[in-house]
Amino acid sequence: MTSRVLKNKLNPTFGLFKSTVRKNLGVIVLLAVGVLILCPGLFLTTLSHIKVKPDGFRPESPTYLDILFGVCGFASAVFVAVGNFISFSFLYKKNSSDVFHSLPLTRTGLFVSRAAASFVTVAIPLTLGYASLLALTAFYPTYLLGTFAQILSAYLVNLLCMLFVSGFTLIFIVCAGSTFDLIISFAGFNAAISVVGLIIANLSSGYLSGYSAENTGSILKAISPMAYCAASAVEFALGGAGNAYSISGNIGFILITLGGSAAFIIASILLFGHRKTERGGQAYAYKFIYVICSILAGICGGYILSTIFSLAGDEKPVSYLGVISFIPGALLTVTVYGAVTERGFKKFKKSLVYGAVSAAAYFVILAVIMSGAFGFSTRVPEKNDVSYVEIICAGTVLNLDDSTPAIALHKAIIDKDANDFEESDLTAPHNGVNIHYQLKNGREMFREYYADMDKVGDEMFAALNAGERFDDYLKAVEKLNSDSVEIDVYDYNNEPYNCIGTKKQLKEFIKAYREDFARHGKKIVYGQDTVSVTVYSKQTEGDEYVFEIAMTDDFTETLSVLGGFKRIEY
């Protein structure tokens, strides 16, 4: 720097930030009014309806923290994205771009000041809302508003989600060259990535052994940053095992969101620093985002056409007809997307290339799924890694701390190749088996099979005959507050047999059933000629236990004990 160049005594970065926030003052006031109507407004107007439960935190209805977190979480994410769009709209017009880029700022300073201003514009009203809830909690400590820690955690996560969404939108803003293309790419990417997630889920349910519908959420979370943020925020609020609004119970989500935000913002700053100003007004400043959107659109379009043709031909998507019809679908969609972006068919040849890449990407996805998705189809957890397991099979739900029978059944299904996708043309009896492992590392593992009972009947019976299952029934019955219990039995024709007994009788019923079950042997897993029995107590509202058991007419001991109950005729 030469001595003739005078240093700026001001801080233009901060100056631009301040003037942008000042310019947004009207929006800040409007948002603040909206938030304050919600909290404390809604609270104060409905004070008389709020349940006071000093012993526990979560009532049946949503707490005010749930409402504030849900509404503000969604609204703040939307507003920060829109705020960024508006704040950086100067990029897309030559005259505004000239003014902002000629200001005495570094590129980073310009970017940070504008992004920070739109963040603060939304964060100020949000802070007011949470501050109000904290104040209300202090004034009305007996009302169920949430603890101080929970409110502060919710506030921090709300800010973090805003930061994540803000960072993510900034990537699109920097890459776009016009407002139209920004909207097209942002909306297109998020919609297409979700559809691609659903396509992967749909293909997996048809071709990936063990795939469960429960895995769909995981797929969406894995490939869509917005879906990840939204789903994780909901999980943070709902919380499992007393982890609602707990930072420590959701540390993975916090770290990923924080890391993701940092990555998005750093990438945006770098892209902005190298962005050619003159690209403003053109479709894209960086083409890669257009290429990604094109490929995603191609996969969606190709799959839609593939499905239409497959359905018309009464075939599955993975058939000659399905595969062949995918290619024109992908090419057509990418060409149309390219025509929208290029305002004509100027880049027709490039669109064809992107369409071909879409088709190739789809076939790679298909190949990965059909080859077991990197070991997904053969993965069985180690017993030491499992916290507990839930199995739903033969109409029975089992919750087992000892995962041995579940793992044995799971391994048997894989080793004996007992899973079948097609429900028709099966001669051997089959049963649906859903396995849900809760792993010690906090993760979950879901598997779903349509298992051939001729192959894994023994393992299935062993799981159903687990001592822990019947012990759990007995423990649950013991916990019922009332000694008098009602039992409703429905046979396989759904005919009711309702009766009243005592807890002691119910325990005898369970013990008799356990003996009959063991004696009956593996025939029960075939599910033929069984009677479905639902047993529960409802002596007092909310004090009930429901479990389903399967039995046949030769469960003599069980039926004998049941006969001892007092029958009710409605």
């Binding site: 720097m1 631009l16 000629s102 300073g109």
Partner: protein, 299 residues
């Protein structure tokens, strides 16, 4: 000194500027003229740090302006279409620039408001094109920059305001040693105001220098001969254009006047005259050499 060294800028494969070099001394009024799409505005954007050159350097005393806040603090750039923050008035814009530029001078701003009679509390979006330009000029001049870059400075201004602006620019250069660079199509206005001038065409700097220097580079010769010489007879001159009408030859020649007259006189013309050309004519001839004339465009 503001310098450009081998500056190249390409837009989608089209060279907007091709190896442009110049030096602009501090305190002068510099005019940039050229055909449409010649790269005038691009050059201003490069000087102001809006664009980054693809090749070469633009800056002050060897320091590049791009991404250099300290240097940009001394440069005010007014593009061909003024831009103001949405829903703002002049007062707010003055506050905005005041928080950006350390040289922003409220007294100058107040004084300029008396020169350009605008309501500082009125929404700028309600201003006419000329009023918006006046408002933008007030703001740029109030920043008291060392380098003032004006793209189509007089566009939309009425005759009085043009003259007023012209006077203010001259006052600025004298009082504050401000270097003013004006890009314009209007040669006559630039001719009256500028010390130096450059002609751009097709992204290249065709000619550059002081106003008189540029004008005196080109001469029009009218001569009559008993035996009309062939074109080859003038091969010793830098002939830009040659027209014949009977025994009379009209030449447009680039170069030193004395050398040209000496050369032609040596050919013993019956009649001979060397006519000075206006700046506009000089530029038209320069552009004609490059194939940019009315005739070739119509064809």
């Amino acid at each position: 000194m503001l310098t450009a060294l081998n500056v190249t800028k390409t837009f989608d494969g089209t060279k907007a500027l091709d190896n442009v070099c110049f030096n602009i001394e501090d305190g002068c009024v510099y005019g940039l003229v050229g055909s449409n799409g010649s790269g005038k505005s691009t050059l201003l954007r490069l000087i102001s740090g809006v664009y980054k050159p693809d090749g070469g350097t633009v800056g002050v005393d060897g320091v590049a302006t791009f991404n250099n806040p300290a240097l940009k603090n001394e440069i005010a750039f007014l593009g061909d279409t003024p831009y103001f923050l949405p829903q703002s008035n002049l007062k707010e814009m003055a506050h905005f620039y005041g928080s950006m530029y350390s040289g922003f001078d409220t007294d100058t701003y107040r004084r300029l408001l008396t020169v350009f009679p605008l309501d500082e509390n009125a929404r700028l979006s309600t201003f006419s094109k000329g009023m918006a330009r006046q408002a933008a000029l007030i703001l740029m001049l109030s920043c008291r920059p060392r380098y003032l870059l004006l793209d189509e400075a007089f566009d939309g201004l009425d005759v009085v305001m043009r003259k007023t602006l012209s006077n203010i620019i001259i006052e600025y250069t004298q009082k504050y040693s401000t270097t003013v660079i004006i890009a314009s199509h209007n040669l006559r206005e630039i001719e009256d105001m500028c010390d130096h001038i450059s002609l751009l065409h097709g992204g290249r700097l065709i000619t550059s220098g002081g106003i008189d220097e540029v004008r005196e580079k080109v001469h029009k010769i009218q001569a009559a001969f008993e035996t009309v010489p062939s074109d080859d007879a003038f091969s010793g001159l830098d002939v830009m254009k040659i027209e014949r009408s009977g025994s009379v030859i009209q030449l447009v020649v680039r170069g030193d006047k004395e050398r040209i007259t000496g050369y032609v006189e040596a050919m013993s013309p019956k009649f001979f005259e060397c006519i000075d050309v206006s700046l506009e004519e000089a530029f038209i001839y320069e552009l004609e050499v490059l194939g940019y004339d009315v005739k070739s465009i119509e064809e």
